[in-house]
């Protein structure tokens, strides 16, 4: 069966050049970078080279890069570390309603430990407003964390404007660039951020490795991990050298190819959006129509549910994802879609298609060819249609599921 992978925001295949350097490192550079001897020095050299590559990819200095176990650790470390070190200056943290859980839940956890939290709303495109941010800042604000691009709807946030605002007020600014890295330019000076998160497995590197950029002089300290003096006291634990080497290679390649790939992917993305909108009725594009990642497509299909679409697509070899409650492991649909004002019933019908370097125009054709009958079949089975969609609102008493029902 033909397999079409359109879930690159979930994870990416590790590219062969990255596998190669990672295997070489595993086989030949086993030394502990903290060891004085020859083997240790080999490991140290591999680590240093990777750090230079990662730094160069985002316009940073090597000493500003701290390797982590991935995006979640880097987000936790960034936010917690700033909060702990700056509590004498203030206790207010600002974030947005559409952040990844690695940021949102870290900020919420601090909210239970004496910090005051503002969660900024977003507009119907999932965009945070600079004006809302301006109004939210108080003299107690110590940290703002807003993602560069959203994982569920692809909307790119005005980080440059928001970070400039933060800097003018002496507030530290963190951005999670896990989704934007390799898709659009990510440069710490152009963005003007103090801390920035990236992850290996979203850019054709392995899982289990990521990095936190910490601008030189930033009032941050490691507050979560206790242990050895690795990463210049910023992240204890023997370094994941093969993973870090792989991250370095992945960063190097992704930046080299960014300009060409982003143009190519934008073409595929726009073809996919156009064909779905033309060939399938009652579909809405979610996220910003233009200020979105070049590889990112997200829709809500009315009257049908996301998981049943995913299962049907999987039977045809197509891999995608959904923000439906049925696929989230919780009883609520995506917090991002709900924050954008999309009603629950529509959010349950969300599908995300994220393209990557392995996708070609024929994949889009194959998707359309198969998706049209899938939607028709599921709609024929659904009791909902454009005439009766809202007749169901009074049957709330039957619903035993959602605690935060909006009806």
């Amino acid at each position: 069966m033909r397999r079409v992978y359109m879930d690159h925001s979930a994870t990416t295949p590790v590219r062969s050049e990255v596998v190669e350097v990672m295997l070489n490192c595993l086989a030949d550079q086993f030394g502990n970078p903290s060891s004085l001897h020859y083997f240790g020095r080999q490991g140290r050299r591999a680590l240093d080279e990777a750090r230079e590559k990662v730094a160069s990819a985002i316009g940073a200095k090597p000493e500003e890069i701290v390797f982590t176990s991935g995006g979640t650790e880097a987000d936790n470390m960034a936010i917690h570390g700033v909060a702990m070190l700056n509590q004498n200056r203030g206790n207010h943290i600002i974030t947005s309603a559409v952040e990844h859980h690695a940021v949102l839940n870290t900020v919420k956890a601090l909210g239970k430990q004496g910090f005051t939290v503002t969660i900024l709303p977003v507009d119907k495109y999932g965009m945070v407003s600079v004006e809302d941010l301006t109004n939210a800042i108080t003299d107690k604000t110590i940290l703002i964390s807003i993602m560069h691009a959203n994982n569920e709807v692809g909307t790119v946030q005005p980080i440059k404007e928001m970070a400039a605002l933060a800097r003018a007020k002496g507030i530290l600014f963190h951005t999670d660039a896990v989704q934007s890295m390799g898709k659009i330019p990510v440069n710490v000076d152009e963005l003007g951020v103090d801390l920035l998160t990236i992850s290996g497995h979203k850019i054709y590197g392995p899982k289990g490795v990521g990095a936190l950029y910490i601008r030189k002089g930033t009032r941050w300290r490691q507050s979560l991990f206790h242990g050895g003096a690795q990463e210049r006291l910023r992240r204890a634990g023997t370094e994941n050298v093969p993973g870090i080497v792989a991250l370095g290679k992945a960063c190097e390649l992704t930046v080299q190819e960014l300009a060409g790939e982003s143009v190519r992917l934008t073409g595929l993305r726009d073809k996919l959006i156009e064909e779905v909108m033309n060939k399938i009725p009652d579909v809405r594009l979610t996220g910003h129509p233009t200020k979105r990642l070049p590889n990112h497509v997200s829709f809500c299909f009315e009257f049908i549910e996301g998981e049943s679409m995913l299962l049907s697509m999987d039977m045809k070899g197509i891999a995608a994802s959904s923000g439906s409650a049925c696929t989230s492991g919780s009883l609520e649909p995506s917090h991002v879609l709900l924050a954008m004002g999309i009603p629950h019933e529509l959010a349950h019908g969300s599908i995300r298609l994220t393209l990557g370097r392995d996708n070609i125009a024929e994949d889009v054709d194959y998707f359309i060819e198969n998706m049209v009958p899938i939607v028709e079949r599921l709609r024929a089975m659904s009791p909902l249609n454009s005439e009766n969609e809202f007749d169901f609102e009074d049957s709330c008493a039957d619903c035993k599921v959602s605690g935060s029902c909006h009806l």
Binding site: F303, I304, E305, G306, E307, S308, L311, M315, S324, A325, C326, T327, G329, L331, P333, P343, H344, E345, H348, A380, M381, S382, P383, L384, E389, F392, E393, S395, C396, D398, C399, K400, V401, S402, C405, H406, L407
Partner: protein
């Protein structure tokens, strides 16, 4: 994550559709929650002679709807009232734990349709 039986009923659902002269119609769920099941019954002499469903929901919601129609067809309404959500899930060789609560409502929809039939008979 789903059993072969669930996937079979999802891929080839039995008794999908509506019955134009149904004498019992039942519906449970709400689009807000992500699941709605609607069951149409044709009852003759207290026996379910025809049954059809329409469902908005995940794979488990569609499979349980399909299964409950198979289990209820030809049964008396007394027998059909004794069918439980648990029995439907077991007939499908089980459902993932998180689906037991939210998407396993097919027997409730059947019972609602039988209630509707009984009210119409009064």
């Amino acid at each position: 994550m789903y059993t072969d039986k669930v996937m079979d009923h999802f891929e080839n659902p039995r008794n999908v559709g509506e019955i134009s002269d149904a004498n019992g119609i039942g519906q449970v769920g709400n689009p807000t929650c992500g699941d709605i099941m609607k069951i149409y019954l044709k009852v003759d002499n207290d026996v379910i002679t025809d049954i059809k469903f329409k469902t908005f929901g995940c794979g488990a919601a569609i499979a349980t709807s399909s299964m409950v129609t198979e289990m209820a067809k030809g049964k008396t309404i007394e027998e059909a009232l004794r069918l439980s959500n648990q029995a439907v899930a077991e007939a499908l060789d089980g459902l993932p734990p998180q689906k037991m609560h939210c998407s396993n409502l097919a027997a409730d929809a059947l019972h609602a349709a039988i209630e509707n039939y009984r009210e119409k008979q009064k």
